[in-house]
Structure formats: C-alpha cells, structure tokens
Symmetry: D2
Subunit: 287 residues, 4 copies
C-alpha cells in the first residue's frame, strides 16, 4: 500500500492449461519485475484459470505504455481476458445517493483520510436535494436529478452525460433508492451497489421490514456489481449482524446502517485495488 513505489497489476482469466503461471510470471521476470503478489484460482467446474499478479514498476524494464501490447501477445494465444492497472492511477468516482447520508458520509471520511481510499470522489448525484449541504461542506459537486416514472429515461440520459463530463470510472450506489434501467447499465457497466439485506434473501424493496416480519435472528448487507437483473449481480462482499426479538424495524435499520457502510466501503476498496475478478455471475476476490 506504500505510495512510494507504484505497482502494476494483471487480472487474468483464461481456459485452464499447463504452464500458465510459469509463462505469465516469466513475462514479468524477464522484464526485470519483482512480483509482490501472486494468487491463482482454478475453477474446476468452469475449466477456468484466474490469476492476480502484482509487481513493482521500479526497475521494470518495459515503459508503462508498452506493457499492455507486450502482454497482449502472450495473452492472445491463451484466449485470455485480462486487465492491466497501475496502483497510482486514481479512478474518478461518482457517488449516488437518495436521502440517507450514512454511506456517503462514511465514504467521504475514508477519502479524507487518504490511506484508506485514495481515489477522488468527483461527483455526487441524487434524486433528492437533501444531502447537498454535505456535498458543499466537503467541496464536492452535487447534482440533484429528480426521477419519476415519466422522466426516468430522459434523466438517465442527463446522468450519463454527467458521468462523461466528469470522466467518471466508477459509480457507487450508496443507498440510491432507484432502479437503473437496462439501457443505463448497458451504457455504464462499472457500478457497485449496496443492498440492505443478505442476498438472495429479501431482494427488492423493504428488506428490513420483511426481515422483521420473518423473524430472522441475523440481518445482512450485500455489495454487488449492478447488472440488468435487479439485486442479481456478482456479489463482492457480504456481512451480517445478530438481531433479537428486542429489535424493532427501527433497530434493524439502525444496525443495518452500520453494516451497509462497512460492507460497501470494503467492496469499493477491493474493487479499486483491482482485487475483484468477475466471471459468469461470480467474483474471485483476491484479498
């Protein structure tokens, strides 16, 4: 995590075959790179090899702009899908909220204390005006874009325009209580959402009320990538907290808020550290 020495990270998935670790590690070594993290997973049932490889750029012989082309020639015969990231890249983040401030506040604190979340929160979008004061307090642009059933598609166009204008790499739905259209998701696929239940239990609306009705003894929260199926995207992180008969719905909400912000923050961090690899509807988290 040291800022002093930037690193490169490869996230790779390809059909399993012999020699993959050797070939890829040799690519780094033959160019003078010192590997500081290598973690491999093989999914037998999918016949898939998945790897995260991180090495120090200091002393690496290839200039940054030549790494991708050079690795591409290795990856192509392997039919590999791969991403290359540099640790000193700082993706630009948009946080979307509705009226609840807990996840927003938490992410802003983490961004302020830069060791935890170094990336810049460039933009806050909300379908409500309520949290504008927080945005102002911390000097972050705030766009209030109200949504109704009638205006949804048109407003999403405006949202997409803002994401382009601010050069956003990642959208974090920090308790944004609107469902994004398939069209939107197709046009901007890098979205992390926090759902206030232990998915797949209580997908959809009012999970805390339904958890109370069902009389569960544990509640949860789930951070996942957004796909076109509501609450069905690949799960990045989940956590739970114990509840009892003493806890009313208001208590579930209170306890849940603490869960939500922890789970969302961990998921965003894992994503931004390039530790999450999606395949099918699943994730490998190289933690």
């Amino acid at each position: 995590m040291s800022i002093a020495s930037p690193t490169a990270t490869l996230l790779i998935s390809c059909p399993d075959q012999k020699g993959l670790v050797a070939k890829i590690a040799s690519f780094v070594y033959s160019n003078g790179g010192n590997i500081i993290h290598a973690d491999q997973h093989t999914d037998d049932s999918a016949g898939l090899f998945l790897l995260r490889l991180e090495w120090q750029l200091e002393g690496f012989n290839l200039p940054r702009n030549l790494i991708a082309p050079a690795f591409g020639s290795i990856a192509q015969p392997l039919q590999a899908q791969w991403q290359l990231h540099f640790s000193d890249d700082t993706p630009r983040i948009a946080i979307w909220v509705s009226r609840q401030d807990h996840c927003l506040f938490d992410l802003i604190w983490r961004q302020k204390s830069r060791r935890i979340l170094r990336q810049k929160i460039s933009l806050i979008i909300s379908n409500h005006p309520h949290l504008e004061a927080i945005a102002q307090q911390f000097g972050i642009a705030y766009h209030h874009i109200p949504i109704t059933a009638e205006t949804k598609l048109q407003q999403e166009a405006q949202q997409l325009e803002l994401l382009k204008q601010y050069n956003i790499d990642l959208v974090v739905l920090a308790k944004y209580m609107q469902v994004l259209s398939s069209h939107f998701v197709a046009n901007f696929p890098q979205i992390i959402n926090i759902h206030h239940s232990f998915l797949p239990a209580f997908a959809g609306a009012n999970p805390y009320h339904r958890a109370f009705e069902r009389g569960v003894k544990i509640i949860g929260a789930t951070a996942h990538y957004v796909t076109q199926e509501l609450d069905e995207g690949p799960i990045i992180e989940q956590d739970v907290v114990r509840v009892s008969h003493r806890d009313r719905v208001a208590d579930l909400i209170r306890k849940g808020k603490d869960l939500e912000r922890m789970v969302l923050a961990r998921a965003v961090r894992l994503h931004l550290q390039n530790r999450v690899l999606v395949y099918g509807n699943r994730t490998v988290v190289f933690a």
Copy 2:
C-alpha cells in the same frame, strides 16, 4: 443450571396492560418463591406482553401440582396463554435422521456429557438403515422406516405410533431429508428442524449448490419449529460462516455441517430450557 435446586418456569403471553409484572411476580413472592430470572418483552405492534419467570422451588409454599391451578386463576382474566415447566422434568426426545451422521453424533455427545443436554434421547427414526450402527454403539433404539411417495402417509402413521409408544415430547429433525405431511405436523406439533441455509435464502432443496451458484460470500444454517409451510416456521436460531471463491460445493457442505450441528444444538438447548416463546410466526428467545 445447578441440578441441586429445581426451578419452575412460567412462559406467558397476553394482551399488554398495566400491572402484569407486578401481578405475576407477586404471585410467586406471596407463595415464598425466589425469582432467579425475570425477562419481559413487549411487542408494540402486536400489543402483546411476553414474560419468562423462573423461581426456585425450594422454599416455595405451593406443591407442584397446585401451581398450575393457582396461576390459572390469575392468568384467565388476563387472557394469557402460558406454560409451566419444572427444570427437573426431562422431556423425551426422538431424533430423526437420513444418511448424514454429524448432527446425530453431536447431539449424542452432548447428551453423554450431561451438563450440556440432560434430556434423554429415547429413539432414533430414519428413512435409511445407515446410521443404525451408531444407535447400537450408544444403546439407543433405532427404527428404520423407509419412505416413498406411495407409502408416506402410512409410514407416518407408524412414526406417530412410535412417538406415542416411546412417550416422546420433542422430535428433532437432525438432517431428516423428508418433508413431513401437514397431517403429521398437525398431530405432533413439537418439532425442531435444521435447515442448511440462512433462511429465507435458499429454502427448499440443495441450498449449498444454489449458494455456490449464486456466489454468496457467507453461508448459514437455521433451526426452526416445523409448521405446515416448508421452511417457513418460527426461527429459533441462525448462524453463518464466511466462504470464498476457493470453496467448492464440497467445501460449503463441509463448513455447513459444522454450522448445522452448532445451530441445531443451541436451538434444542434453548427449547429444552424453556427459553423460547412462539407467537405468530416469530419467537422470543429469553437467552
């Protein structure tokens, strides 16, 4: 938990009104009882008062057989539902299994080390012959009652007959992989089941396979009373364990087995200590 001094326990629920604690506690006090546990819960939304009261029988002026009639005259005007239990009662337990031995083995160990589960396991019923050796090893009666779609009702009649013959108070479904008919549940309502998922997620068949498919990061187990709706009965206890992409279905099953036996054992213990009060489809657990 001291065996030396037996206690009486009242579990009461009634419409909330003023003076309930005072009236009920005074009943115990006026008869010379020393209360060692009093725990009250009020469910606002249901307008319901729920209480567990436990007192030492030593020095109590009413003989055991007069406590119920005496308390009944207090309870009736309150429209209370109530149960009276004595700590040295030892309910007779039947354990039902299929082929998996982990919950059975665990409950037997707990029963052997009597401080954990003092009650007697009188009977094991299984739709398979596989675990008979364990029953013999520990000297417990084992009845193999195979079930097919055709023979189910008739075999259930035999099962009910056995429960009557062995004077069973509680049936524990310790991974019994058959669904009981509504008729059976109506005739023998004291049944605790362990379901190998974090209900309401993955109710029904093959929860570990479905959890693997969904890519969840945490799996769970749920102990609940059996009602006529499959996997929908009042939940007594739940617990979870973290899994990762490294865990295949076989690993979920392995980790889940440890969860299942812990959760089931805790639920059985809470029930046998008269700490669980069911109302609607919910439980109050006076832990």
Copy 3:
C-alpha cells in the same frame, strides 16, 4: 426509542432476597405506570440482584420530582444502590481526541442523524490542534490543551474546569492517547474509553504492533469505563475482526479503526440508554 412518550428507567442492585421483583414492579404499578422493559439478573457468586425497569411516564401518577423520594423509601430497607433516569434527559457529552479523527467523525455523524444518538456533543478537547477544523465544520467548541509530563496535572485542572463550565455529564475518550491521572478519574468518574485491542490482550501502548508481532489471527477493540488502573476498567462492549498473514501493521490499523468506531458507538449508546450497570469490575448490559 419513540421520542413521543418519555419513560423512566430504574437501575437497581442490592443483596438478593425474595420479593424484589414483586416489590419494585408493584411500586410502578400502584402509581399507574406501564412497564415496557423489565430485565433481571442474579449474580449467584456475588449474592447480588440487579434489575433494569423502564416504564412510560404518560399516565404515571407521581410527578417526576417525587419519584426518587418515593422509591428511596422502598430502596433503603433493601440496601439497594439505584439510579433513576428519564429518557428525555439529554446528558451533555465531551469528546476527547488526539490526532485520529475516525471515532470523532463517527460520533458526530450519529449525533447529526438524531435517531441514533440524540444527545448533544457540547465540547471537544484535544492535546493536539489537528482536528479543530472538524469541530468548526460542525459547530462544536474545541479546546486545544497540550499535555507534557510537566504540565499534566495543571492541564487536567483546566480540563476539569471546562467539564464543569460546559456542564458535561459524560466524557468519551475517542482515541485520546494520554493516560488520565488517578486524581482526574477520582474527580470525574463518568468516562468511557475505546482501547484498540481485545482486552486483556495487548493492554497499554501499541497494541496493533504487538498483535502483528504475536501473529494473531483476530484483532479486537474494547470499550470500557475508565478507572484508576490503566485498561482495567469494567468492559461495556468488545468486538473483533479476522486478520491474515497478508495484513501488515497498517492493515491492522485500518481494520481496527472500523472496529473502534463501531464498538465505541455501541458502548456510548448503551450507556446513554441507561442499559449498563456496573458492579465490582464488571458490567451487566441490559441490551
């Protein structure tokens, strides 16, 4: 938690004897009170009875200022120690910090969203100037009182003066990295501290470094009342998080910060809801 109907809460401890629940509940009932929470604990080894009783003030016949004298006459023959609190009392809180902002920020957020922490943060005291900007941002008084070995006693006198001036009821040490003198603790006993370890492991300085050295697989945080023995006061709340060989000291600190703010917030909330009863060096938490 409803603000609409204020409640009174009694926290009582006294030598165990028969009739205590009946007597105390009858006091409430005979004055027309509706008990909404009654929870009793008996510590056998200490021969001690401990009770929390909460009832609605609406419809209670005694005016507030007469409840204490009236109950006093019941408590005295029982040799009881007791406290009476009203739910609409709002104790005034001082938060003490050094340079780390995470617990402070968290408590301020909770106070802003008033359902979680209704009480007022009246004062921030720090031995460093670093967090003054946060205090200003949220409009809370900030006093920078640097401490050296030489100035400690004199500065503590100033701190006590400030607590008096601001009418403070509770001091929360939210990562205040100074040890309070015995004299201070004797003069202001209502202090909650967060220690960044799972006490009694790693009491004292540098717990995360020592946890890393020892190679533990789990780290923790502990909220406790401050007594004259460093890190030895009655524990209110603890929690833990799993770590692995991948976690360096910096990662333990990062994970620990999330723990610290959760554990401290829970402890402060339990205290302010009058759910914590101290006896000897232990607490009963009527959660």
Copy 4:
C-alpha cells in the same frame, strides 16, 4: 480435495528476490505439471518470500522420488527452506487427552467421515484412564500414562517411545492438561495444541475463570504449534464467541468447548493439507 488425482505440494520460504515465482513455476511446467494452487506472500519487514505451490501428479514427468532432488538443485542457490508433500500421504496422528472428551470425540467423528479428515488416528495417550472406553468403542489404541512432577521426564521418555513405535507424524494435544518439557518438544516438534482462550489473553491456567473475573464480552480459543515457551508458539487459527453477564463460568466452559473443537479441527486440517508455513513465531496460512 478429490482423492482420485493425487497432487504434490511445495511449501517454500527464502530471501526475497526477483524471478522466484517464474523459476519455481517453470520447474513444475517444464516437467509437465498442471498447477492447481499457487499462492505467494511477501513479508516486507522480514525480506522473506513464501510460496505454496500445488500441482497434479498425473502427467507429471518426474517420478515422485526424483522430485525432491530435482527441486533441491533449484532451491539451494535461493537459500530456500522447503517441504515437499504428496496429497495421498497419510500422516499418522496421536491424540493426547486428559479427562475432557469433546475434542477427541469431534476429531474421531471427522476421521470416521473420511472426507473431512482422511488421516488415521493411530494412538490416544492420556494421563487419565477416563476416556479409554471411547478409544475402545472406535478401535483406537489407548495408553494411560499418569504424570506427576516426579515421574514426568521418565513418562515422557515412554511417550516418545510410543510415538516412535506407532510411527507418529503429528501429535494433537486435544485438551491435554499437562505442560510438555522442553526436552520433549525438542525431540518431537510436530505438535498442535488447543488453548482455551484468545491468546495472548489468559495464557496459562484457568482461562475461563479469569475471563469471567475480568468481565470480558467475548471469549476465544487458539490452536497453535507447541514451542518451548508455554502458550507462545505460532498461532494457526483462532475464533471467538460472544458471552454476556448471564454466562457463569460453567457457561463459558460450555460455549468454549464448542469453540475449542472447531478451532482445533480447522487447525489440524490446515496442517494436514500442508497449508501452514511457519516462519519466526508466525504462520502463513494458505487457506
């Protein structure tokens, strides 16, 4: 975990330098091995590279007995310490107990259901006669070797003799309430112990009583390798469970027993799967 296809596992530690992953993976690849698990850790502060590499033996060109010599010539210039294991090796285990049966019973159950613990429990040693019946029930040799301060060294000689006679590879102290001498540990270094506390809290005798005295809100258990310093060896696994003021010492013991057997079983499994690498007083657990 499939028994069908045996694997080889290398556990390696050496001073960090460039090219280690490439060199070691190439050794496997150039001999036709398919790597199914590669996980690397670098300890910056120690300047140490640590790796676990597992590959399928099917199709591997080197016969088993030549793998070690061949790898040795690669390892030597790297100043590497390394171990080579085959997944179908079945180390022979001795379980040492005193009077408590819970960990013994649990390990026997896991061994019976062979998917969880495939290795053979060859021998039970106890300083008490109490658990001999269990050993007989499951057909395992039981040696009762009473220990007093006077007879300790002489009895340890007999114990060492038994370990040799039964060809034991791993000793599991499953609540063996005696301290082994330094001489013993020096002569038989492969020992896993379960300590009934969250180390380093409550090292030594009577941890549950001391946890009760201290009023902790969470208790734990720790599995570690035994070294000459009591309760100071490298930690393999820890876990915790929440307790409350309602839990007396007997309840801590009861809850702790469930923890102990889980934590011990997990540690033994990790060790037997060659997932634990000790360096200094720490472990890397390639889970």
